[in-house]
Symmetry: D2
Subunit: 95 residues, 4 copies
C-alpha cells in the first residue's frame, strides 16, 4: 500500500530539547531510498507503508543506542485507489 | 517493535455517515489475533508494528471492495525499552 | 463547533514513565464539566472545541507547575452538520 | 498558549478528490494573520492555540457553505516554557 505519510517522532524523557535526536532521525531518513521532506513538525515520507514502518524501527533502534528509552510517534497518511499521487502532486493540486 | 497503537481509519468520499464501513473494519480487527479495544474515536491495538500495518492493509483492501477509493488514517503509538506495557497496564498505571 | 476529540498529552523530558503526570491530567479532565472517557492511548472529550482548548491550557499549566517544560499533544476530531452525535452514539452506531 | 500546530483538515463524503476544498481552506489560512506554511499532508500554523481553533472554525464554516457536512481534523503541536520557538527556529535547530 503506497502512502504519503506525515511522520512525527518524539523522543521522551530526554529533556525539553530534542534537536540532537531529531538530527539523527533526519540522517537515517535522508539515507533511506524513500522520498522524504522535513517540515516544522515532522517529515512527509513517500513509499510502501511496510517500508515506512521499517524506517520507523530503524529510527527507534538508533534512538535506543543514544539512550532514549521511550519514543512517541504520530503518523497520518491516506491511501487511494483512484490514482497515484506523490507529495509533489498533492502540493500542486492545491496551489 | 511492540506498540499499543491508537488507530483511526476514515473512509473518504462515501458520505458523512461511515458507520457501515467502520463495522466492516471492526470485524476485520476482531478477527485478527491482535488484542484490540475500540473507543469513540478509534481503536487501540496491541502488537508488533509490522502486524498492525498488515492489519491496516487488510482493512484498506476490504474498504476498496466496498467501493471506498480513498481512506485517511491516523496512528499514534509509543515504543519503550525500559519495560513491556500492555493496554491494560497503561490504564492501570494512571487510575 | 461541537466535537468529540481524541486528545493525547505527552509530557516530554521527564523520563520514560509519565503516569504521575497523566494522573494529574486525568484529575483536571475529570473535574471539568466536559464529558470525557479515558482509553489506553488518550482521552475522548465531548464539547465545544474552544472548551476543549481551554482544558488543554489548564493541563499544560498544571504540568508546568510540576516542572514539565515541554508538552506534546495530538488531537483528532470530527465536526458534522448533518446530525448531533455523542461519544455514546458513535460507539452504538458501529456495534 | 503559543503553539506551532500541524493541522490537517479532511473533508469527508465529497469524493476521493478534495483539492478544491483544500484550496478554499488554504485561502482562509493565507488570509489570516497567523504565520502558516503548507506541506504535502497539512499546514503548520504558528500562534495562540485559541486563534488556531478559531481558524479551524472558520474553515469548517466555509466547507459547510460548500456542502461538506462532515470534516475530520488532526492537530499535533507542542508547547514549551523553556524558550520561544518559531517554525523557522524548529527547522533551523535540526538542519
Amino acid at each position: 500500500m503506497k502512502v504519503v505519510a506525515d511522520l512525527c517522532i518524539v523522543p521522551m524523557g530526554v529533556g525539553p530539547s530534542v534537536s540532537p535526536y531529531v538530527r539523527e532521525i533526519k540522517a537515517i531518513i535522508d539515507a533511506s531510498p524513500l522520498n522524504a521532506e522535513m517540515h516544522a513538525n515532522g517529515t512527509n515520507i513517500e513509499g510502501e507503508l511496510s517500508d515506512v514502518c521499517r524506517l520507523i524501527e530503524q529510527c527507534e533502534a538508533r534512538l535506543a543506542e543514544l539512550g532514549v528509552a521511550r519514543v512517541f510517534y504520530t503518523m497520518a497518511f491516506s491511501s487511494r485507489r483512484d490514482k497515484e499521487q506523490t507529495m509533489a502532486d498533492k502540493l500542486k493540486a492545491v496551489s
